[in-house]
Amino acid sequence: MSPDMTEKHRIELVVNGRRHTAEVEPRTLLVDFLRDELGLKGTHIGCEHGVCGACTVLLDGRTIRSCTTFAVQAEGAHVGTVEGLADGPDLHPLQDEFWDKQALQCGFCTPAMLLTASELLERNPDPTPAQVREAVSGNLCRCTGYQFITEAVLAAAARMRAGEQTGAQA
């Protein structure tokens, strides 16, 4: 391994509204940085090749795969993870509807699914079922068959259109 691979780089970024500075190797993946350096274990590693979407986080408001993004690429960015969704004891409407509709079974894809859905509702507060399915089609769920996920996103969208708080997400 060449020395420039182990030489650490200083990065500064905002995660769920909190500013962090850290020294990271250039090859450190963003997902490993979030999990191992910041202790944010809600971002999961499913395939490590950018297909399953379990590692999805928000980078400056847009969903990205944190398993194919280096931590140094998040320099200066605002990163949102599932830990930023709930406001203390209060679940985000998406989380609450996922619970109510049983839109999760094993829960492994859930944090990423929630973030992908939040991005959709930011862009389109009143999606059709087909639009929800298309929006989450980059996130694999092996348990649910997506039906209750779709129902939950639609139910949360209705609550959010009615003015419900959307949590503490940065």
């Binding site: 391994m1 190797e25 090859r27 450190t28 999990r35 944010l40 274990k41 809600g42 971002t43 999961h44 590693i45 499913g46 395939c47 490590e48 090749h49 297909v51 399953c52 379990a54 993870t81 599932v82 830990e83 969704l85 709930a86 679940l91 989380q95 996922f98 619970w99 109510d100 509709k101 049983q102 999760l104 079974q105 094993c106 829960g107 492994f108 894809c109 859930t110 944090p111 929630l114 079922p129 929800v132 399915r133 298309e134 989450v136 089609s137 980059g138 694999l140 769920c141 092996r142 348990c143 649910t144 068959g145 997506y146 039906q147 209750f148 996920i149 779709t150």
Partner: protein, 817 residues
């Protein structure tokens, strides 16, 4: 069948009519932590002090290991140990293996002299981080001498084939033919024999979380602690201690929630063995967590891979008389669970039909592929597909409607309990009612009209209809009835629960097999406890105990969890209530016979103000010993080991396998598809599914299993395949090539529930966890075949990829392309 020995049946139960919690779609008690990203999966438990193991994998399907040089890897900074297969064989014994002849197809945690499939481990690096461990793998030099790969399972049986295991002397690990009933008579009397060759290729569970373990081998105490997302068959974990060469009472395997399993984490002990071996060498805790390629190529849990030659004896009026099944199953390089997959098939081999005789020949073949393990259905879903294909083909040859031929052959409600030719019993069912409901839900007649209209327009719409079984709650006998002289004819397959009522009346349930892995054991137990004690299920606390101090348990598999936990909860509750009753009677100075349980406490019959709540009773039992009769012990905690409620022994000639899978669920699936004959693409237009799993505990959870299982079944039917090329290379070793259905491939289902309670289980519950995957492959295949019927095309091979559909169309005389 008549004349079966019905002794051994448990008493028929009377179920209570009104239930407060069983049957309600409450929010799952497991979910809040997962919604917040605080699931506590195995990867989340890794500490900075933990070392990381990574495994070097064989690039060859079949090769001798000539030499391994680990010098450079060991010299890398941050590397703590490098272990080759030969060294691993000095540190560990072979893996736990339930196969037919383990000494002749020995399976170890790493390959020793030769590799037997692409992805088999040859060496391990242990380092400060996973990054460094993988760097070290890149520095290990392995010299291989490639051997001819054994890939095609039929060729593997031919004389002169290369051998996967030389000591076995052939590539056939097991062969036997069973006859049940009067097969020759039924075929001699048949008006028609329907024949087919069918091919089911291998797929797998592929949960989004891989298998992993964190082990701490403590040299000071000799204690080995392993946290893992695969803890099952708790009673058999002494075998893991054997592999690690430690006393069984020094091993504690602790359950951690799993990010999905679908069978693929069933007794997945290799990562635990690897982590423990590495920890022993490194003297520190070690995590071994598969990456995706590890899991896809080396998980030991690929699904069934079968070739069928089938003959179905049929009468002109559509009566199904007998079936001859000859199947070759490609098990891969090892055969850890033996041919248990075919036991699952034999439990329901004749489906919901009165087929009177069965000849079942199975040949288990070893090839240079990752070995089979468990995938939702465990081989019975393959049988469902085979049987429904044959019934549809019979209907086509007889000019009958698929609904009509099924109705003609259904076992009727008055026939239960019904013994099938293999000796297994179906406890209860109402197949006609499920079919009626499915036809209604599917709007079947309208779709038949749409189909006719579409055909006039040159479009190919197909309506699939299948009726099939979901056996639940297996017995131990299916592990050994294969052999006339089994090595270990075990008969226990229990599940246990401890209930503790604390001094405030709060209830904690302790479970003893694997933690949550996507099913809902905590919700099930909470609802069952709430039903017994009239409390809020969300107030019930559920915890998991590790193996060392655990009670006997088996864990999920064969859709057994809810039924078995219900039995254990019922038994523990009875003990708690007996003690509480005695205490309440003492405190109320009443005769116990004059008390009854009402709304969370005991009260004097007819005098409701004379009562003690569970909390009143519990506080006395915990804190006021001297207020109790002298022989009453302090505390209120009871456990129940619930053994399998209905098992009978196989006959010595194996013409009757006994009762081994008695609680029989049933479903009818009706998908509607359109096939694009230019591209081979299949699009869903509608999908209806009606399941009968007896009494429902949480209907929405069961619906989730139906939809999720159907999505997996659609993957099996259309998309997913572990493809090995002629050299044994695994071509689909990423999610780019192994295509799991996305939200765009899975239709919205119309779901219906029927409830035919089991007469033998608490509340009448049957298992339903394998859900839609038992049915969907057969149903989708039927729909595609129905669509292409005007072209004279039938697909007989899964998955029905666009390429296979186009190939079938090109070969069809009905269509010139």
């Amino acid at each position: 069948m008549t004349g079966r020995d019905r002794s051994g049946a448990p008493p028929v139960r009377t179920h209570k009519e009104e239930r407060n919690w069983v049957g309600k779609s409450i929010r799952r008690v497991e979910d809040p932590k997962f919604l917040r990203g605080r699931g506590g999966y195995i990867a989340d438990l890794v500490t900075p002090w933990t070392l990381h193991a990574a495994v070097l994998r064989s690039p060859y399907a079949h090769a001798r290991i000539v030499a391994i040089d680990t010098t450079a890897a060991e010299a890398l900074d941050g590397v703590h140990a490098v272990i080759t297969g030969a060294q691993a064989a000095e540190l560990t014994d072979p893996m736990p293996d339930f196969g037919p002849d383990p000494a002749n197809h020995t399976w170890r945690c790493l390959a020793v002299d030769k590799v037997r499939y692409v992805g088999e481990g040859v060496a391990i690096a242990v380092a400060d981080s996973r990054y460094l461990a993988e760097d070290a793998l890149g520095l290990i030099e392995v010299e291989y001498e490639p051997l001819p790969a054994v890939v095609d399972p039929e060729a593997a049986l031919a004389d002169g084939s290369a051998l996967v295991h030389e000591t076995l002397g052939s590539n056939c690990a097991y062969e036997r033919t069973f006859d049940f009933g009067e097969v020759d008579r039924d075929f001699a009397e048949a008006d028609l024999v329907v024949r087919d060759r069918l091919r089911w290729h291998r797929s797998g569970g592929q949960p989004l979380e891989t298998v992993g373990a964190i082990a701490d081998f403590d040299h000071a105490t000799g204690q080995v602690t392993i946290d893992t997302n695969s803890l099952s068959f708790t009673s058999y974990l002494f075998m893991v201690a054997g592999t690690l060469r430690i006393p069984a009472n020094k091993l504690d395997i602790r359950p951690v929630p799993a990010g999905g399993s679908f069978g693929s984490k069933l007794f997945a002990t290799k990562p635990a063995v690897i982590a423990a071996m590495c920890s022993r060498v490194a003297g520190r805790p070690v995590v071994y967590l598969e990456d995706r390629i590890d899991n896809m190529s080396n998980c030991d849990h690929h699904g069934s891979d079968r070739i069928y030659e089938v003959e179905l004896a049929v009468m002109r009026d559509g009566t199904l008389r007998g079936i001859k099944i000859d199947t070759i199953d490609d098990y891969g390089a090892y055969i850890q669970f033996g041919v248990g997959h075919h036991g699952n098939a034999l439990a329901q081999v004749t489906g919901p039909y009165k087929i009177g005789s069965v000849r079942y020949r199975v040949r288990a073949v070893l090839t240079n592929k990752n070995q089979q393990g468990a995938y939702r259905g465990f081989g019975s879903e393959v049988n469902n597909w085979m049987l429904e294909q044959m019934v549809d083909k019979a209907a086509r040859e007889l000019g009958m409607d698929p609904v009509q031929i099924r109705r003609r052959n259904f076992i009727q409600p008055s026939d239960f309990p019904y013994f099938v030719p293999t000796g297994n019993v179906y406890d209860s069912g109402n197949y006609g009612a499920v079919l009626d409901e499915a036809l209604k839900l599917a709007d079947y007649d309208r779709w038949r009209a749409e189909q006719a209209k579409a055909r006039d327009e040159g479009r190919y719409i197909g309506v699939g209809l299948i009726s099939a079984q979901e056996r639940s709650v297996f017995s131990a006998t299916e592990f050994w009835f294969w052999f006339d002289e089994p090595g270990a004819p075990v008969t226990s397959m229990p599940e246990s629960v401890t209930l503790k009522v604390d001094a405030t009346g709060g209830i904690t349930a302790t479970l003893y097999s694997c933690a949550f892995w996507g099913n809902s054991p905590e919700t099930m137990v909470a609802q069952l406890v709430a039903e017994e004690f009239d409390c809020d299920p969300h107030a019930v606390s559920v915890v998991y105990q590790g193996s060392k101090n655990g009670l006997p348990a088996t864990g999920p598999g064969g859709s057994r969890t809810t039924v078995m936990l219900a039995g254990a909860v019922e038994g523990a509750t009875a003990k708690i209530k007996a003690k509480a009753l005695r205490t309440a009677a003492h405190l109320l100075e009443a005769d116990p016979d004059d008390l009854k349980w009402v709304d969370g406490g005991f009260q004097v019959k007819g005098v409701p103000e004379q009562r003690k709540s569970l909390a009143d009773i519990a506080v006395v039992l915990h804190l006021f010993k001297h207020s109790l009769p002298e022989d009453v012990e302090s505390g209120l905690e009871e456990c129940k080991v619930y053994d399998h409620p209905y098992t009978t022994m196989p006959s010595s000639d194996r013409k009757d396998l006994g009762v081994f899978y008695p609680f029989m669920g049933h479903a009818c699936h009706v998908p509607v598809v359109e096939v694009d004959v230019e591209t081979g693409a299949v699009t869903f237009l509608a999908y209806a599914a009606v399941h009968d799993c007896g009494t429902l505990v949480n209907p929405r959870s069961l619906a989730g299993h139906i939809v999720g299982g159907t999505a997996q079944g659609i993957g099996t039917a259309l998309h997913e395949e572990f493809v090995y090329d002629a050299d044994g290379q695994l071509l689909s070793s990423s999610f780019l090539d192994y295509q799991i259905p996305t939200a765009m491939e899975v239709p919205a289902l119309a779901i219906g529930h029927a409830e035919t309670p089991s007469p033998y289980t608490p509340h009448g519950i049957k298992g339903g966890g394998e859900g839609g995957r038992m049915m969907a492959p057969a149903a989708v295949n039927a729909a595609v075949n129905d669509a292409l019927a005007p072209l004279g095309v039938r697909l007989t091979e899964l998955p029905m990829t666009p390429e296979r559909i186009l190939t079938a169309l090109r070969a069809s005389p009905g269509r010139a392309l």
